[in-house]
């Protein structure tokens, strides 16, 4: 891997912290790094595969759902935390009815 401090910002990796909310299962591996140029869809797909759930509710800052086509680096730059990560919350759908 090229030295991250020397790469242009868009080539940097972003630390993503996945937080379970509601009664969603907690991941054993809840933190990982992803290239900033990846789309948020990759994070969503990762969650789905880990949790084997199709219906996932994925959001940031307890307030909005990022568009899956957004770049992770853009989300990090706008909504990242002070300690340098992007916190992504997820919840699973409750039983219907």
């Amino acid at each position: 891997m090229a030295a991250e401090s020397q790469s242009p910002s868009f080539a940097r990796k972003v630390v993503v912290h996945l937080r379970a909310t509601g009664d969603a299962p907690i991941l054993k591996q809840a933190k990982f790094k992803i290239l900033g140029t990846e789309k948020f869809a990759k994070v969503i797909d990762f969650l789905r595969r880990q949790l084997h759930r199709e219906t996932l509710f994925v959001y940031v800052n307890s307030s909005f759902a990022p568009n899956p086509d957004e770049l992770v680096i853009d989300l990090y730059n706008n909504f990242g935390t002070f300690d340098g990560k992007l916190v992504v919350n997820y919840a699973c759908s409750m039983a219907w009815g």
């Binding site: 909310t21 509601g22 140029t37 789309k39 869809a41 969503i44 199709e54 219906t55 509710f57 959001y59 800052n61 307890s62 307030s63 909005f64 759902a65 990022p66 568009n67 899956p68 086509d69 957004e70 853009d74 706008n78 909504f79 919350n89 919840a91 759908s93 409750m94 219907w96």
Partner: protein
């Protein structure tokens, strides 16, 4: 608002507050893009006389569809270089279109946000049409959706699209069924109790809501709208 007992729904009065907040913030933040506007309607007979009736409207816009296979972003017309920016008509500054359907041309969206008294939540009504006004078939609408959005949302049991008569315009529109809305809005705000305590939740309710339902039609919410949520 006591968030622990809140069911994720809002009253008509709260909807009006939230609608006003959305319109104002959108105008402030995305002054170059078409604004959401409030459309007042003649009262339905069952509505109490002191209550205002109406809905939010964003019409005649083009929404982006970034193809999965291409990594390069289509350029967003941020700098207003294109002549189209002079026209009132339609280019949403945050978007461009890349059609994926057989009829390979630009299609336009009309989006309305209507309050549902029975579910006590906002509901998205939309219609999609070509430049000659011809409405798209539902299968073609799906093809026009951004690939990831389509996959994420159309498979979800929280989002199903039905075609119904628009409650005010009395013509068939597509609508995103509201039955899951209260549930996921509650889930959403539960993560931040301070939001509710400070009374800010209603002001941002529609913006948060729109970030989810907007994805069904590929509407991108500018970051500035989301920044103080």
């Amino acid at each position: 608002m006591d968030i622990s007992s809140w069911d994720g729904t809002i009253s008509l009065a709260e909807f009006h507050v939230a609608a006003r907040a959305l319109v104002e913030k959108w105008k402030r933040v995305s002054s170059a893009s078409p604004p959401w506007s409030w459309v007042s309607c003649p009262k339905q007979p069952w509505v109490a006389s002191h209550e205002v009736e109406g809905y939010l409207s964003l019409e005649n816009i083009i929404l982006v569809s970034i193809k999965e296979e291409h990594d390069e972003l289509l350029s967003f017309p941020q700098k207003e270089e294109t002549s189209c920016s002079d026209k009132e008509e339609s280019i949403d500054i945050a978007t461009l279109v890349q059609s994926q359907s057989d009829r390979d041309e630009i299609c336009y969206y009309d989006l309305h946000i209507v309050y549902s008294a029975s579910y006590r939540v906002p509901v998205l009504y939309f219609r999609v049409y070509y430049s000659d006004g011809e409405p798209l078939e539902f299968e073609d609408i799906k093809k026009h959706l951004p690939a990831h959005s389509a996959k994420t949302l159309l498979d979800s049991k929280w989002t199903f699209i039905t075609q119904e008569e628009h409650p005010y315009l009395k013509r068939p529109w597509y609508k995103l069924h509201p039955c899951g809305t209260g549930e996921w809005m509650k889930l959403l705000f539960q993560g931040d109790v301070s939001l509710a305590r400070n009374g800010a939740a209603i002001e941002v309710y529609l913006i948060s809501w729109l970030s989810f339902v907007g994805q069904v039609v590929g509407l991108r919410i500018p970051y500035e709208m989301l920044n103080q949520l």
